[in-house]
């Protein structure tokens, strides 16, 4: 979840290792990684080649969930539902206030990029 800039190739390798560990841990607990979710995750990551590395976990339904966090309490969580759909959670501090906007919803892989732009979270992803 670090915001420090990292080499995209290294990030991809780290993601691969992380997914293999999650796959193994899931099998220990009796569930499996949703292959459609993994496919969408890789498509999304490849479409944002300069993205900072996200924290990756596995939801109990087998879907991958990526989380980016910023120092300013900004927060972006994306669960890859498969079939080009995602569930997102966005926390974003409003400028010059203590208020934090919090929204959640479902959208397509392309649609969530528009949400990220609308909340000015591109810096969180390092794009």
């Amino acid at each position: 979840m670090s915001i420090t800039q990292e080499n995209p190739r290294k990030i991809h390798k780290d993601y691969s290792l992380r997914i293999e560990l999650l796959r193994s841990d899931a099998e220990d607990d009796g569930f499996v990684l949703n292959e459609s979710s993994e496919k969408d995750f890789w498509q999304y990551i490849r479409s944002a080649p300069f993205a900072q590395k996200a924290g990756l976990v596995l939801v109990d339904n087998g879907n991958l969930r990526a989380v980016w966090k910023g120092d300013d309490e900004s927060h972006l969580g994306i669960q890859f539902l498969g079939n080009q759909w995602v569930e997102y959670v966005i926390f974003k501090r409003r400028p010059s206030t203590v208020d934090v906007a919090r929204v959640a919803g479902r959208d397509t892989l392309d649609g969530v990029k528009r949400q990220i732009d609308a909340f000015d979270l591109t810096s969180l992803m390092g794009a």
Binding site: M1, A26, V57, L58, D60, V67, G77
Partner: protein, 147 residues
């Protein structure tokens, strides 16, 4: 005390699977989503064991748990009042004492409690609430202690 709300000064712990933890050890909000058909999230009320130290309270939770705990899992600790007061979205939560009786060879689990008032687990609102609850975690304890 069955069915009663826990006091705001109480603390609870919830077992978190390895797949719900990030690489830095932090807990993802998806650990606080309801499973289909469930009405509450299982937690354990630490202060139920009022005569024990904190370490002993945690040991009792581990000993009486009916879950298969993993070494890279953890027990995430929440303060009841602090969580409910963290943001307007969490004020509807209730922390309810729900002790488990002896059953199917399991010893009774008198500190078992539930978090209720959560949205259905497969909804975006559940994801938002889960991420907020994860921000309220006060401590992370090992799920297993090496002998």
């Amino acid at each position: 005390m069955n069915g009663n709300d826990l006091p705001d000064g109480a603390h609870v712990v919830r077992y978190v699977k390895p797949t719900s933890r990030h690489e830095d050890g932090s807990v993802d909000g998806s650990a606080f989503r309801l499973r289909s058909g469930d009405n509450g999230l299982s937690v354990n009320w630490l202060e139920y064991f009022s005569d024990l130290t904190k370490a002993q309270q945690l040991d009792e939770v581990r000993r009486l748990s009916r879950l298969t705990m993993r070494k890279r899992g953890c027990l995430a600790e929440l303060g009841v009042g602090a969580t409910k007061q963290y943001s307007p979205e969490l004020t509807a939560l209730r922390f309810v004492h729900n002790p488990l009786a002896t059953e199917n060879g399991y010893e009774a689990d008198p500190s078992h409690s539930e978090i209720t008032g959560l949205p259905q687990g497969d909804s975006p609102q559940a994801a938002l609430i889960g991420d907020l609850i994860a921000e309220c975690i006060q401590a992370i304890h090992p799920a297993l202690i090496d002998a």
